[in-house]
Amino acid sequence: MVRLITHNILACHAKGCTQNNFPLQFKDASIELKEQEFNPDFLRNFLSRLEWKALVDTARELGDTSLPLEMPEMIDDEFLKNLHHVLLEIHVEEGAMICPNCGHSYPISNGIPNMLLAEHEIG
């Protein structure tokens, strides 16, 4: 269950990989949709923390086109519901996340992403 709210924070931490190491790209993602309680107050306050382009691009790669390319100025309920779904209800259960810079692959299994690196590989 890497959800996009978490994916929007994750970046590659391999040695020497300091540029263009975000967002990680999903590969062979198998997705499950799970309902989650809608919390508009959380979303409104959380909004400014998002890397918007990374979120929209990744959602589109996973087949969800409900979010606009630019963050809207008017935050209405319809928008928040779409955002809620994209951030919190799409679970990537299996697959991998690939660093766009160095190509390192972080596997996802049983919904848990493996972000471990050997100590000498950490930047």
């Binding site: 924070i9 989650q36 923390r49 972000m115 950490i122």
Partner: protein, 283 residues
């Protein structure tokens, strides 16, 4: 009950040492360990209750994830992502709390940093940094926490085990041969009994479960801890911050281009030392 024994740590292969005496042990004892760790400590619960709605945080060394569902009075108002080195504990942490809510967890190491710098509004590190076997590694773990926090407002709470034990604590701690910085390196035994193993919620994934033989009715796992001396955690935090160019103290008025941390709380509670801090920046 087996007693705590002092150990001396060789500096040469700290990662291998921790693999053997921390990570492997937690993977083995995960279900039993989790069944004994369900009650949130009040100061940590209070810290999580004080966070504004919409904040995102990291629980670095989340264990069985008991802090992931908090705050209990405003569930869902903040979003805590749990990180741990033990895959078997994470399986439990995913389902922490009541109901069928799935928690967000990451398999990783507290010395890693697989996120955008400054992406978190808060971080907690509870009973985790004391499992690192050298001072340099404990300092690096604090630096990873500081770096993941928002430079303008990030808040952090760190708990470690203290040499100074609560009188209610079941453990007695030998205090000869203190390690570097006044702390104490010890093995703390975890006893898995062959019968009456309490509440096995899930089976460990790996097939390395320590099912004892007929002669061996219980299996003892020794976990490595660095028990902190009084003042040691604060010193560690300050050293870590200064090593990153952060000032220690209140945010100065009228300054510019300065970054720092303010120590909000620094105390002892129930056999643990804790430090709460807040990052600030003058732009």
């Amino acid at each position: 009950m087996p007693t705590v024994q002092t150990v001396s740590v060789s500096d040469s292969q700290p990662q291998d040492y921790e693999n053997e005496h921390v990570h492997a042990v937690y993977d083995e004892i995960a279900p039993h360990f989790s069944s004994t760790r369900y009650k949130p400590w009040p100061i940590i619960a209070q810290f999580l209750s004080s966070l504004p709605t919409g904040w995102v945080g990291l629980d670095s060394g989340t264990g069985n994830g008991k802090y992931l569902p908090l705050p209990a009075d405003r569930p869902g108002s903040v979003w805590t992502i749990g990180l741990d080195r033990s895959r078997n504990l994470l399986q439990i942490a995913r389902k922490a709390g009541e109901g069928s809510t799935i928690r967000e967890v990451i398999w990783g190491d507290v010395l890693g940093h697989p996120w955008r710098d400054g992406a978190f509004d808060y971080a907690i590190s509870i009973a985790t940094i004391h499992h690192l076997s050298t001072h340099a590694r404990r300092r690096l773990a604090v630096q990873r926490l500081l770096k993941c926090l928002s430079p303008s407002h990030g808040r952090c709470l760190i708990y470690v085990w203290a040499i100074e034990q609560d009188e209610l604590s079941k453990r007695t701690v030998p205090t000869e041969s203190p390690a570097e910085n006044g702390g104490q390196d010890v093995f703390v035994p975890w006893v898995l009994k062959s019968q009456g193993q309490p509440k096995r919620k899930i089976q460990p994934e790996t097939d390395r479960s320590p099912i004892p033989t007929s002669q061996d009715q219980e299996k003892v796992f020794n976990r490595y801890y660095h028990m902190f001396a009084k003042g040691e955690l604060r010193t560690l935090v300050c050293e870590a911050a200064q090593g990153m160019g952060l000032q220690i103290g209140n945010q100065p008025e009228g300054a510019s281009g300065v970054v720092g941390i303010e120590i909000v709380q620094d105390d002892w509670e129930r056999s643990n030392y804790y430090v709460e801090l807040r990052r600030w920046e003058c732009s």
